[in-house]
């Protein structure tokens, strides 16, 4: 087990190196002269040269890359031009908001997609099967920002069930004392059910939006994988032995069918982390996505770069986690390693 874990971690290292190189190259590709940009429009030639020297931009590219890596190792992602705050601090403060939303989105998406996929597979050609196909096709066809807006219109403007799409908590509530940064968990720790409900209300629509967008791969894979497992010999034997259909499907087939579904989670996370940016913009969610979007509009590159790097590292880590999880669930993978 330990050697498998080590092997997986080592396999993730080239991806991480690639990510660091690409984000470094992205800064160097910046149009125009960064030094002139930092110095401002009124700067003299000498001032620009001086800034170039302090930023290290007069050094060879490889030395610059070295400095960049050293800064990264110290957790330094540079400073935002507009706020003057260190990017790393801002990202750390905003990450829990994004993480809470993304995780809830994943839970919503699995809660819809897995039962749908199972039901579609147990009755191929039935209404549920067609529903599954329609839902998955619609899920990938609906632009995620559009789904969000429709949900806001229906549930906030028409029905009035949801609160205004303005962040994590209504203005009347104050945030629970920070322990994990997740409002749902923090409010439970603080034994504050009112805040919990308020935070949940704010979360439901954006999480549902994310869920709808990312459920297609899960539902498709669940259906396909259940179909193949249900036609296998051990399921036939279980059925022939007179086991209840529920036992056959849930205990026998479902467990085996889950393995390929776990591998699609990597793709689902790619969907979720990307869609997160758009959903955060629609719902004015104070996460790292909206931080990056604000910076983009102000042509402030350091936060964008920090954001891209953070997301990529998160994604590599999530993929690693999925691999390890797969190894834990399927002993065959462990033996191979």
């Amino acid at each position: 087990m330990g050697s498998m874990l080590l092997k997986r971690v080592l396999a993730a290292i080239p991806s991480l190196i690639g990510v660091v190189i690409v984000t470094f190259l992205l800064t160097r590709a910046l149009p125009g002269d960064p030094a002139a940009y930092f110095a401002g429009p009124a700067a003299t030639k000498e001032a620009i040269e001086q800034i170039r020297a302090t930023l290290g931009l007069d050094q060879p590219l490889i030395i610059q890359f070295f400095h960049y890596v050293v800064d990264l190792a110290h957790g330094d992602l540079g400073k935002s031009l507009t706020t003057g705050q260190p990017v790393a601090e801002e990202i750390r403060a905003r990450l829990p908001a994004s993480a809470e939303l993304t995780l809830l989105g994943l839970i919503v998406s699995m809660a819809i997609a897995i039962p749908l996929g199972i039901m579609a597979a147990t009755k191929p050609g039935s209404i549920i099967d067609h529903t599954c196909r329609i839902v998955t096709t619609a899920g990938v066809s609906l632009p995620v920002f559009f789904t969000g807006l429709i949900l806001v219109y229906v549930f906030y403007y028409l029905l009035g069930w949801a609160p205004a799409p303005l962040g994590r908590l209504d203005v009347f509530y104050s945030a629970p004392p920070t322990v994990t940064g997740f409002y749902l968990i923090d409010s439970l720790i603080a034994r504050d059910p009112e805040t919990f409900v308020a935070a949940l209300k704010q979360l439901i629509l954006p999480a549902l939006t994310l869920g709808i967008f990312s459920l297609a791969p899960i539902a498709r894979m669940t259906r396909a994988s259940m179909l193949s497992v249900l036609s296998s010999d051990f399921v036939r034997t279980a059925r022939a032995s007179g086991l209840a259909p529920y036992t056959v499907i849930v205990t026998y087939a479902f467990r085996n069918a889950m393995l390929p579904v776990i591998t699609t989670l990597g793709m689902v996370f790619s969907f979720l982390l990307g869609a997160n940016v758009l959903v955060e913009k629609v719902f004015a969610w104070p996460g790292i996505g909206s931080f990056a979007v604000e910076a983009l509009i102000a042509s402030d590159f350091a936060p964008v770069q920090g954001f891209v790097l953070t997301m990529a590292i998160l994604y590599v880590a999530l993929n690693l986690l999925i691999d390890v999880l797969y190894g834990l669930i399927d002993p065959r993978v462990r033996l191979e390693a």
């Binding site: 991806s15 991480l16 632009p143 807006l149 806001v152 219109y153 758009l278 983009l296 964008v304």
Partner: protein
């Protein structure tokens, strides 16, 4: 190496006859005795071999008529292409002309989709935007087809370090959540439509490169490649005239499958304020502009461009499945 088939005069005919024989034998044995006495063997399939083009056309007709959804998607696709080509000439209003008196009007006979906060006709804007959105999607898909297709074929055919470099490049791109990488690329290279096209192409690169690599790799030692090599063709000539044409159809399927994603990606980027700028008519921007009015109940500003986007993506996704059925029937789902 490839001399197995040459000693048989017409392998297809032989196999066909054997199949027919087998079919009638099983039919005889499976059927119960009473009907067997009155059983007449099915007429031998005497369909003459069609010429290549006629066979393809009839196959396309078969796929379209058998799957109504695919036919519908093709019709929709035609409509989108027509709107992209003729839309700007046909719309009733100038998509950029503002008319503050008629601002924020709901859909009416005069303005089918209503007007936005500047009084611009939304119907005209939605139709005119088709050309830009469709253009971005097509351009990015063609670009990635060239980049990913060529790199993948080279990697699969030559192997060695070419393969390693292309593989490493694809892995690195895959290490990013795709939309996030596209954001970073556009932010770094500059906020233009060309860079949106480039970014969308780059994030799709691994898909194309991997498919092309796998297909080229399978054909590296194929009989026809060996034959071309023995007749003295250079490796470059073999790649260009033997391997590429074979990989081509599979990449076309990939193109139609990723069209929908390309258009979503581009619209998403312009939704967050990258690439296309207002007042240009573009679906993503129009939804972004309408977003501010959703909470006060002016639904039509965001709804119609959003619907247009959704229909286009939906159409491309269905079309992708249809094109796959036509080109590569083995992968039907």
């Amino acid at each position: 190496m490839s001399s197995i088939a040459t000693d048989r005069a017409d392998p297809d005919a032989a196999i066909g006859a054997a199949l027919v024989q087998a079919a009638s034998v099983t039919a005889d044995t499976v059927l119960p005795p009473e009907p067997a006495t009155t059983f007449t063997p099915p007429p031998r399939p005497t369909a003459p071999r069609q010429s290549g083009l006629a066979a393809t056309l009839s196959h396309i007709r078969y796929v379209l008529s058998e799957n109504l959804v695919t036919g519908f998607a093709f019709a929709l696709f035609l409509l989108i292409v027509l709107a992209a080509v003729f839309g700007p000439a046909l719309v009733p209003y100038d998509p950029l002309a503002s008319d503050t008196v008629a601002a924020l009007k709901p859909p009416s006979a005069q303005h089918w989709f209503g007007t936005d906060q500047l009084g611009r006709d939304i119907f005209s804007r939605v139709v005119v935007a088709t050309r830009l959105d469709f253009g971005i999607a097509v351009a990015s898909v063609v670009l990635v087809f060239l980049m990913g297709g060529l790199a993948g074929v080279a990697a699969g055919f030559y192997g060695g370090w070419t393969d390693r470099i292309v593989g490493r490049l694809a892995d690195t791109i895959m290490a990013f959540p795709l939309f996030v990488l596209a954001m970073g690329i556009v932010a770094a290279l500059g906020n233009t439509v060309q860079n949106i096209v480039l970014a969308t192409a780059i994030v799709n690169f691994p898909l194309y490169a991997r498919v092309a690599r796998a297909e080229a790799n399978v054909r590296r030692e194929a009989g026809f490649v060996e034959a071309a090599r023995l007749s003295g063709n250079s490796e470059f000539r073999i790649v260009s005239f033997q391997v590429l044409p074979n990989v081509f159809p599979i990449l076309v399927v990939q193109m139609s499958l990723t069209m929908g994603y390309a258009i979503l990606n581009a619209a998403g980027l312009s939704f967050i304020g990258l690439g296309v700028r207002p007042p240009t008519a573009e679906w993503g921007i129009m939804v972004a502009e309408g977003a501010a009015f959703i909470v006060s109940g002016e639904w039509w500003i965001a709804l119609f461009p959003g619907l247009a986007l959704m229909i286009a993506v939906f159409c491309f996704n269905l079309l992708g499945d249809g094109v796959r059925d036509i080109v590569d029937p083995r992968r039907r789902t």
